[in-house]
């Protein structure tokens, strides 16, 4: 059992996945896509980025009890050039926002963003009446997966990363330009 063998029916959100799946590519391209996407989704290397309490939960998800090395993600890269995904874990304040944008810009394509925790979705417990907190990290960088929780449990973080893997599965070589253009947030 365990989360690695999660079946299609057990996921909560399958409608968006079906919308993303393209139809009508030829057989050769579909096979190449499957192989390449299998390689890409099973070796997502995150950038070491944690600001606040969600970072502790992310560290616990990497610890032996809920291990995300099973999914190929335990290789954290310190340099953004070598990272595939940035898991924004923690509150982003106005002083930190330009730093985060710069790190995101330095990552090389294809890159993904996971917004972990309530603070990165809307500002969390600090969204009202705070002079210093950015209300949601999608005001700065485009986000692929939102994981609610304060902080989300390790199982919730793993569920979000699995959804990201299914998202990667639906991409094809042909749609890469569209995908890269959609992440140009100017």
């Amino acid at each position: 059992m365990g989360i690695k063998g999660m079946k299609y029916e057990e996921f909560g959100d399958n409608e968006s996945l079906e919308l993303l799946r393209e139809s009508g590519t030829n057989v050769l391209l579909a096979t190449i896509d499957d192989v390449i996407n299998w390689g890409r989704k099973n070796s997502l290397w995150p950038l070491t980025f944690a600001t606040s309490c969600c970072g502790i939960e992310m560290m616990q998800t990497g610890a032996p009890k809920h291990d995300f090395a099973r999914f190929g993600m335990e290789v954290y890269r310190a340099s953004p050039r070598q990272a595939d995904v940035i898991v924004v874990a923690g509150t982003i304040v106005k002083k930190m926002a330009p730093v985060l944008k710069r790190l995101y810009d330095e990552m090389s394509e294809p890159k993904y963003v996971v917004a972990m925790g309530a603070c990165t979705i809307t500002g969390g417990p600090f969204c009202l009446h705070s002079y210093s907190v950015v209300n949601g990290v999608d005001q700065i960088i485009p986000v692929d997966v939102y994981i609610p929780g304060c902080p989300p449990r390790p199982q919730a973080l793993l569920y979000g990363m699995l959804q990201l893997q299914r998202l990667i599965e639906t991409e094809t070589i042909k749609s890469r330009k569209i995908r890269i253009a959609s992440h140009n947030y100017e």
Partner: protein, 150 residues
């Protein structure tokens, strides 16, 4: 010494003070210009020996701005609270006590950063957390157009 003797002793230092018993501590209210002399007496005199400053708190009372000092004596284990207010919101000025207690240096910089309260004779009064284009966020009349309020 117990609380009543402490209150008597502090009243004897300066006739301008008001000493009263708060819920937890003895509170002393002092005008802004006399903070430094009172503080140095409280540190040096043998009966009081307040050598530990817990914290300096800046307060915006609505019309006034003020500071609150929590002092403790490590020898006698008694505590006292000193309060001071000013109605001048454009240029609130209090005496700095950073030459008496070293820790006051950072506390006063924080009060200046977040409330705009200035301290005279402070060795290095500049902002601690925010940059210079921010106003004074903890004032009651601070307006932030990005802030969401329901």
């Amino acid at each position: 010494m117990d609380k009543i003797q402490l209150a008597e002793f502090i009243k004897s230092l300066d006739s301008d003070l008001e000493v009263k018993e708060g819920k937890q501590y003895t509170e002393v209210t002092v005008p802004p210009s006399k903070i430094h002399s009172l503080a140095s007496q409280l540190r040096e005199k043998e009966e009081a020996l307040f050598d530990f400053l817990d914290c300096i708190t800046g307060v915006d009372y609505g019309h006034d701005l003020g500071v609150i000092y929590h002092l403790r004596s490590t020898k006698y284990q008694h505590m006292v609270v000193i309060k001071s207010r000013t109605t001048d919101r454009e240029n609130p000025l209090f005496d700095s006590v950073s030459d008496i207690w070293e820790t006051a240096n950072l506390h006063e910089r924080e009060a200046f950063d977040l409330l705009g309260i200035k301290f005279a004779n402070h060795p290095d009064l500049r902002r601690l957390f925010l940059n210079s284009s921010w106003g004074f966020p903890l004032r009651k009349d601070y307006v932030d157009n990005d802030m969401i309020t329901w």
